[in-house]
C-alpha cells in the first residue's frame, strides 16, 4: 500500500528530474559522445555514459559471482556443519558486517587494501579492489537471506535424507539447496541489487576514472559514484543527466527484480 506508492513517487521524481537531460541531450548522445565531461549547458558538454554503465555492471556482477557461492556456502556452514556455538558467533559476525557503514569499508579499502594492490599493479584503486570491497559488503545480505532460506526447509526433508543414509554434503547439495531454491535466488539477486546501488565505498576504492577498463587493475567509475561525486557541483543539464544516471539504476534494478520474480515462479511451480 504505502510501500508501493513510495516506489512510484521515487520513480516519478527521478524520471521527472531526468527529463531535461533527455530532451536537451538526446538518448543517443549518451552512448556516442566522446567521453563524460558534463557541463550545465548540453551543447558544451559530453555525456557518454557507456563506460560508467559498464563500470557498474562489471563491478557488481563480478562481486555477486564471488559473494553468491561464498554466501550460500557459509549459510550452509552455519546451518548444517558448524557446532552450535561457532555458528552463533559466525552469525553474529555476519550481522555485524551488515551494519558496518560503507564509509568504514571504503576507508579500510583506501588505506589498507589499495596500497597493497598498488604495489602489485598501480594505481591500486581499480575494478579489482572494488570487487573485493563490494563482495565483503554484499556478503552479509546474501549469507543472512540464504541462512533464512535454508532454515525454512521442512525438517521432514532432512529426516528423510538421514533415513536414506545420505552424507551431509549430498543432503545439503541435493536436497536442501534445491528445496530452498527460490529463497536462495532471492538472496543472490538482492545481493546483486545491493552491489549495484553501493555508493560511498565505491567512490573511495574504484578510482572513478571514466574509462572502459582494459584489465581488472584499471580504475573504473560507476553510476552511483558519478552521482555522488558530481551532484554537489552540478547545475542545469549536468544535474539532469545525473538524475538520468539514477533512472538507469532504477531501470536496472526493476529489470533484475522482475527477472527474479519470473525465475522464482518457475521454480515454485516445479517443486510444488
Amino acid at each position: 500500500m504505502i510501500a508501493g506508492s513510495v516506489v512510484v513517487v521515487i520513480g516519478a521524481f527521478v524520471v521527472g528530474e531526468s527529463i531535461p537531460a533527455l530532451t536537451h541531450i538526446g538518448g543517443s548522445r549518451f552512448m556516442t559522445d566522446e567521453s563524460w565531461h558534463p557541463a550545465a549547458d548540453a551543447s558544451f558538454g559530453q555525456f557518454n555514459l557507456l563506460p560508467i554503465l559498464i563500470g557498474t555492471v562489471l563491478s557488481s556482477f563480478a562481486a555477486i559471482s564471488v559473494a553468491a557461492p561464498l554466501g550460500i556456502l557459509s549459510a550452509a556452514f552455519c546451518q548444517f556443519y558448524a557446532p552450535l556455538r561457532v555458528a552463533r558467533w559466525y552469525r553474529l559476525m555476519i550481522e555485524l558486517m551488515a551494519g558496518v557503514p560503507s564509509v568504514v569499508f571504503g576507508l579500510w579499502g583506501l588505506v589498507v587494501l589499495v596500497p597493497i594492490i598498488a604495489r602489485i599493479h598501480p594505481p591500486g584503486q581499480s575494478l579489482f579492489t572494488g570487487i573485493v570491497i563490494l563482495t565483503l559488503m554484499i556478503l552479509p545480505t546474501v549469507a543472512l537471506l540464504s541462512d533464512a532460506a535454508l532454515a525454512s526447509v521442512p525438517r521432514s526433508y532432512l529426516q528423510g535424507a538421514a533415513a536414506l543414509g545420505l552424507s551431509r554434503a549430498t543432503t545439503t547439495l541435493s536436497v536442501v539447496i534445491p528445496a530452498a531454491r527460490s529463497g536462495l535466488v532471492t538472496a543472490v539477486l538482492l545481493g546483486l541489487v545491493r552491489a549495484i546501488g553501493e555508493t560511498m565505498a565505491v567512490v573511495m576504492v574504484c578510482g572513478n576514472v571514466v574509462r572502459v577498463p582494459s584489465g581488472p587493475f584499471d580504475p573504473i567509475r560507476t553510476l552511483t559514484a558519478t552521482i555522488a561525486l558530481e551532484m554537489g557541483y552540478a547545475r542545469g543539464d549536468h544535474r539532469a543527466s545525473l538524475f538520468f544516471c539514477g533512472m538507469i539504476l532504477l531501470f536496472l534494478v526493476t529489470l533484475l527484480v522482475t527477472t527474479m520474480e519470473i525465475v522464482n515462479r518457475r521454480l515454485r511451480h516445479g517443486t510444488t
Partner: protein
C-alpha cells in the same frame, strides 16, 4: 507478555525522559522568558564546512539565542541555495564566476593549492612544463622527470570541484585533456591516495597537506616556480597558486546575518582559521 511489555515500554519512556531532560538543562533556555531563537542557515563547500562549524559554535556561545546550521553540498549548492533563499549564507571555496555577480561576496580566508608526492619519491621539484606533461599524459614515467623507472599514477579531482578549477586555471589546462589514473572527491581522499602509493602525484589544499605532513603522513609538498609550498608563503602572497574562500549572500546582509558575516570575517576568528590550516584575511 504483559509484564515484559510493560517493562520494555517503561525503559523506552525512561529513555525519552532522559533525552528531554538533557535538552532542558542547556543554559540557553530561560524558563521564565520565551526565548526568541534566531536561526541562520549556511550551506556550501565542504572545504569550508568544518571552519564555519567552529565559527558558528563560537558565535552561538557569545550570542545565546542564536542557532547557526551548517550544511555541506558543494560550492555550487552554496550559490544556488543562497539565491533561492534556502540558505542565508553560502560558502564558496573559489572565486566567483562571471554569472554569479548578483551575489554579495565576503572574503573569509585564503588557501593555496600545491602538488604532493609520496615522501619516498626522489623527485624534489617539477617545472611547469613537466606538470602539464604529466597531467596531459605525455609524460608517463617518473624516469622522464628525474625519478625511478616506474609509471606515474596521476591523481585528479572530480569535475566541478573548486580545487580542480584553481589547478586547471593556473596551468591553463582544459579539464577534458587531463589524463588521470585516479579521480578523487575530497582533499583527504587525495592525501590518503598519495600516501598509500609511492608512484602517485596529486594536488590538494596546502593547509591540509601541511597539517597532514606534520602529523606524520608520508607525503611531500612540491614547490612551485621555486617557491616552497607552505601556509606561510600563501600568507605572504609569494606562493603562486592560491585561491580565496568566500561567503556569499543574496543581497546586502542585515540583522543577524550581518552579524554572522561580520563575525566570520573579523580577527576574532583568525585563530580558528589558522587551526584549520587556512590563511586569515588581514
Amino acid at each position: 507478555m504483559n509484564r515484559r511489555f510493560q517493562s520494555v515500554s517503561g525503559v523506552i519512556v525512561l529513555a525519552c525522559a532522559i533525552v528531554v531532560g538533557c535538552e532542558d538543562s542547556s543554559p540557553a533556555v530561560n524558563p521564565t522568558q520565551p526565548v526568541e531563537v534566531k536561526q541562520v542557515t549556511i550551506t556550501g563547500a565542504s572545504t569550508l564546512a568544518p571552519l564555519l562549524s567552529e565559527i558558528a559554535k563560537r558565535f552561538e556561545n557569545e550570542n545565546p539565542g542564536t542557532r547557526i546550521d551548517i550544511q555541506s553540498g558543494g560550492s555550487s549548492r552554496g550559490v544556488s541555495d543562497t539565491r533561492s533563499g534556502l540558505a542565508d549564507i553560502g560558502m564558496v571555496s573559489r572565486d566567483l564566476k562571471p554569472g554569479e555577480d548578483d551575489l554579495q561576496r565576503f572574503r573569509i580566508a585564503r588557501d593555496g593549492v600545491c602538488l604532493i608526492v609520496h615522501r619516498d619519491n626522489s623527485v624534489e621539484s617539477l617545472s611547469r612544463e613537466q606538470i602539464i606533461g604529466i597531467y596531459t599524459g605525455e609524460i608517463r614515467n617518473w624516469q622522464e622527470v628525474g625519478g625511478t623507472n616506474a609509471p606515474i599514477t596521476v591523481v585528479n579531482k572530480a569535475e566541478g570541484r573548486s580545487t580542480l578549477e584553481v589547478f586547471a586555471g593556473y596551468f591553463k589546462l582544459d579539464t577534458r585533456k587531463i589524463h588521470a589514473d585516479v579521480v578523487i572527491g575530497d582533499n583527504e581522499q587525495g592525501v590518503k591516495t598519495v600516501a598509500g602509493n609511492p608512484l602517485a602525484i596529486g594536488y590538494v589544499s596546502i593547509g591540509t597537506a601541511e597539517y597532514d605532513r606534520e602529523s606524520g603522513i608520508p607525503i611531500r609538498l612540491l614547490p612551485l616556480e621555486g617557491i616552497e609550498a607552505s601556509v606561510k608563503n600563501v600568507a605572504n602572497e609569494t606562493f603562486p597558486m592560491s585561491r580565496t574562500l568566500h561567503l556569499v549572500t543574496k543581497s546586502q546582509p542585515e540583522g543577524i546575518v550581518k552579524d554572522v558575516v561580520e563575525f566570520a570575517t573579523s580577527p576574532k576568528v583568525h585563530d580558528l582559521v589558522r587551526e584549520l590550516s587556512f590563511v586569515p584575511i588581514e
